[in-house]
Amino acid sequence: MTWLIEPLQFEFMQRALLASVLIGFTNGFISGYIVLRRLALLTDALSHSLLPGLAVGAIFFGLAPLGLFFGGLVAAVFVALGGMVVARSSRLKDETAISILYVISFALGIILLKYSRSRVDLGHFLFGNILGVSDSDLWISYLTSFLGITLLIANHRPLLLAIFEPNVARSLGVRVSLLNYMLLGIMVLAMIASLQAVGVVLSLALLILPSATIYVVCDSYDGMLWGGGVLGATGSVIGLYVSYWMDLPSGPSIVLVLGAVFLAAYLFSPRYGVFSRVFKTRHRHEESLRRWEHKH
C-alpha cells in the first residue's frame, strides 16, 4: 500500500490529485457531448486559438490565473464567433473559416509572447504543469466543474434532442442555437480551467478520449456522459501515479494511460471491437456453411 500512500505526503501531489479528479471528471463528462455532436476538430482549433489571449493576459496581468483565464476566454470566443461570422458572410464552411482564424491567432500569439514581460513559455502552454497548480487554479476548476455540469444536467433532455435531430428539436420549440452556444461556452471554460494543470493539448485529450472510449464499448447516452467523467477522473489519477513512480512528465502520462484504455477498447470491445467483429463474421459464415451441408 505504500505505493498508494507515499505520494500523498507531499502537498503538491495532494493538490495535483485533486486537480486531476476535478478536471478529469468535468472534461470527461463534456467529452460525451463533443463526441456525439462531432465537435472534436472544432475543439482542437479552439484550444490553439487561446494562445494570443493568454499572451495578452500575461502582458497586462503577469501570470495571475484570472488574467490568463479571461485572456483565453476572449480569444476563444473571438475565434469561435469570428469563424461563424466569416462562414456566414462568405462561401466558406465553418470548419475552414475557424481553421483560418485559429492559425492566424496562433501565429499572433507566438509573436505577442515575445513581448510579454513575464516569460510564459510555449511548452507550458501546450503541456501545463499539474504539479504546480495553485489554490486559485483549483478554485477556478471547482467553479467551472460546478457551473458546467449543472448547466448540462439541467438541459439534459433538450440537449439530447438538439444533438440527435436539430431540425425536429427546432420544430418542437427547443432553442437549438442557444444550446449550441452554451455547449461551446462550457467547452471553452473547461479548456481554460484545465490549462494551468495539463495544457491545451492534454486538456483536448481529456475532452475527447474518455467518451470516445465509452462509445466503442457501450450503447448508452447517459453512460457516455457519466462513464466519460469517471473514466477521465480515474485515468488522470492513474496517470499521475504512473508519472510519480516512473519519473515521467505528468501530463503525457495521463494521456498515455487514457490512450492505452482507448486502444484496448477499440481492439477488444465485445460489441464494436475490431477483434469481435472479425470473430463474428467468421462465426456466422461457418454456421451457415454447416447448415448448408446439413441440408444436402
Partner: protein, 257 residues
C-alpha cells in the same frame, strides 16, 4: 371521416431569392394518405418542411382548422429522410419514442405514468413492443421508419410529414409501413409522404398532390392521378428560378454548348 382540414394559402418558400415552392393554395382533408409527387427539385421536401414549420414562409399561411391543436403547436410531426439520421447515436427505440413526449414535458419535468403509458401505446400501435430495448442501429429499414412514426404517435401528432419514407425498403417492409400509414389515416390523422415511384402510388395512397414548383393538382386518386396531369407535372418546366428562354450567364445551359 373527420371534418378538420389543413389549409394552405398562397404559400411561397424561397432559398436565395429563388422560389422553391410558388404560390401553393390547397385545403387538405384529415384522415387521408396523401402522396406528394413531383420531379427532383419540384419542392417536395420544401413543402413538407414548410408545413412542419422548419423553413420560414415568404408569403402565405398554413392553418389547421377544426382541431384543438394549432398547426405549429406540436401538432405536426416531421420524419426526416433516413439518410439524414445518425443511426449510430446511442439511443434505444424506447428512448427515441420518449423524445416524442418532450413537448408535453418541457425541459425539467420528470416522465410521469401518463408519459410512460403514451410511450407504451405508441410502441404497441406500431408493433415495436418487442424491439423496444433495441438500439436504433440494430433495426431494419422498415423498423426504423416505424420507430420514428411511433415517436410521432407518442407526441400526439395530428399531421404526419414523411420525407421519402419508402425509399430503399424491401417489399415486406414496404407492406408493413403501408399498414402503419393506413392505421394512422383511419385514426383520423393526416399523412403526407413525398414519394417518387409512380407505380406504387395507387397502392399506397388515396389522394395525391402533384407539384412542380407550382401546384399542378390535388385530390383523390381517381380524378387527379391521370396520365395527362402526370405528364403536366413531369413534362414541362412549369416554374423554376431561371426564365427558360434567357438563361443567365454561367448556368448549365451555357456550359452545354
Amino acid at each position: 371521416m373527420s371534418e378538420h382540414q389543413l389549409q394552405i394559402r398562397d404559400l411561397t418558400v424561397s432559398y436565395d431569392r429563388i422560389p422553391a415552392v410558388h404560390h401553393v393554395d390547397m385545403t387538405l382533408r384529415c384522415g387521408h394518405r396523401v402522396g406528394l409527387i413531383g420531379p427532383n427539385g419540384a419542392g417536395k421536401s420544401t413543402l413538407l418542411k414548410a408545413v412542419a414549420g422548419l423553413v420560414p414562409l415568404e408569403t402565405g399561411s398554413i392553418r389547421l382548422v377544426g382541431h384543438e391543436s394549432a398547426c405549429h403547436d406540436h401538432g405536426t410531426a416531421y420524419l426526416p429522410q433516413r439518410s439524414a439520421v445518425d443511426w449510430d447515436f446511442p439511443i434505444t427505440v424506447r428512448g427515441l419514442v420518449e423524445l416524442g413526449r418532450y413537448p408535453a414535458l418541457g425541459a425539467f419535468k420528470r416522465y410521469s405514468e401518463a408519459d410512460a403509458r403514451a410511450v407504451d401505446e405508441a410502441l404497441e400501435a406500431l408493433q415495436l413492443t418487442e424491439l423496444a430495448e433495441r438500439q436504433i442501429n440494430a433495426l431494419s429499414g422498415g423498423q426504423q421508419q416505424r420507430a420514428f412514426l411511433a415517436r410521432a404517435w407518442a407526441q400526439n401528432a395530428h399531421i404526419y410529414l414523411l420525407d421519402e419514407p419508402f425509399t430503399g425498403l424491401d417489399k415486406v417492409a414496404q407492406a408493413d409501413l403501408r399498414r402503419s400509414i393506413r392505421a394512422l389515416a383511419d385514426a383520423g390523422k393526416l399523412v403526407i409522404c413525398s414519394h417518387h415511384d409512380l407505380h406504387t402510388v395507387p397502392d399506397l395512397f388515396d389522394e395525391v398532390i402533384l407539384i412542380n414548383g407550382e401546384l399542378v393538382a390535388y385530390g383523390p386518386l381517381a380524378g387527379v392521378f391521370t396520365p395527362a396531369s402526370i405528364d403536366k407535372t413531369y413534362g414541362t418546366r412549369i416554374f423554376s428560378g431561371h426564365p427558360p428562354h434567357h438563361p443567365p450567364e454561367g448556368t448549365d445551359d451555357d456550359l452545354a454548348h
